[in-house]
Amino acid sequence: MSRQEQARAGQWRRLPLIENPQLRWGLALGLAVYLVLALASVEVNWARVAEGAGRGLNFLAAFTQPDFISRRGDIIDGILESLTMTVTSTVIGVALSIPVGLGAARNIAPWPIYYLCRGIITVSRTFQEIIIAILFVVMFGFGPLAGMITLAFATIGFMAKLLAEDIEDLDWRQVEAVRATGANWWQIMNHAVQPQVMPRLIGLSMYRLDINFRESAVIGIVGAGGIGATLNTSISRYEYDTSAAILLIIIAIVLLCEYSSSHIRRWTQ
């Protein structure tokens, strides 16, 4: 009986999301099996959880009375170091991402350069910042320089990929129009490509500044400078009131960053 006739008789069910019943039930079964296996492989030491529950409450309580004072020196140094790493890495990263992004755009780069730039982008995007930081700390020693290079490298991957996509979607007629005036390669870039990608480039840079600050708060864990080391120490010593203070500062700076970046974006458009 067709669905129309059934509906006439008052029988109607919603169309299933996946039409093929075998595929539908197969997927549902596969999902159920995965969930069971995955949940079964999560080992929970309930005695340890019960022991830690008190600490969890302590941590929450610490937010009502964060301690900015007793480790004031460490906190100020750490935050300043994080901020300087954020600024320098974003500037250097964005500057370097422009040539990489141009090289990774299929419509303007010759193929050896295209593959090289795509390779850099893929490696930079695949590995979490912490892993990159470990390697750079081994190479450059402990301190903010390793952190800055890490963040700059991550910025290149992030920015260059989006920039390359932007350039690939360029409005090609504008480029042709400029080329038709007899402009050379640099003039084409300056008059036809730059105006089209600039607003988004500025927006993305502001967004990346925000991300870099958040990342700079963790790469200190592996010795790459910033507030992360202080935070790590305070957590492992159970000094939750200091951790709460640091987290509140991070949240405040991220909020400030977001607020000002929305202003700058509006101002540039």
Binding site: R3, Q4, A7, R8, A9, G10, Q11, W12, R13, R14, L15
Partner: protein, 277 residues
Amino acid sequence: MLTLSQVSKRYPTGDRALSDIDLTLPRGQVMALIGPSGAGKSTLIRCVNRLVEPTSGSIRLEDTELTRLSGAALRRARRSMAMIFQEYALVDRLTVMENVLSGRLGYVGFWRSFTRRYSQEDIAEAFRLLDRVGLPHALDKRADALSGGQRQRVGIARALIQSPRLLLVDEPTASLDPKTSRQIMRLIRELCAERNLAAIINIHDVALAQQFADRIVGLRAGQIVFDGKPGELDAETLTTIYGEEEWDTRVQEEETEGEPATPAPTAHLNLATGGAS
């Protein structure tokens, strides 16, 4: 059946959309509400089903005072007043059948509606209505796959499955081409007659209003400036409603030829027409 007395609406911005409207609508009457853009037509019908809160005044549907209802009582009152929208207001990603059945939401509980387990009578009625508006084949199509006229038919079916006593119709033809507009107006008219429904129809197209309504009310700057039979509408009254314009040519043309010579100013052709059939 529907009585509005001293209804006013002032928006928080300070714009006065309606001032002291008095209006009575008897059972089974199809009333067209005409007037320039911004005259308060949409606000008026939205005050009736309280999508917009009137600032003062009283609105009674038979024995129920609508302005004081809230919560469950308001939802129960809304069931008996079905609304048809200008841009169809269908949920694009749901199928035609789901859109029609959504008219029953006031009658079924949350879980039944969430799992789409409607009663057999509801489903049979939904299909009968789809059949009546000429779309039985479109049952399982997604709403965004239909053309403008077809979507408005689904919107009409959704309104009727509420088993309403009153239809509130907001610019039903503003997004349709002239031919489809007439078909839709004729359908609404017929359905009102079949079910003895009262209707308030906001409409820009004066010719359509004259042809399909029992009564015409003209609104200007939130006040009723005309209330009478379609035949009583002449160039002079149109000037009081809309302002100065050479009405005669237009009205005469339509009276003699019986066809609208030009589509109404807002009735631009709908590009979605012919999307699927």
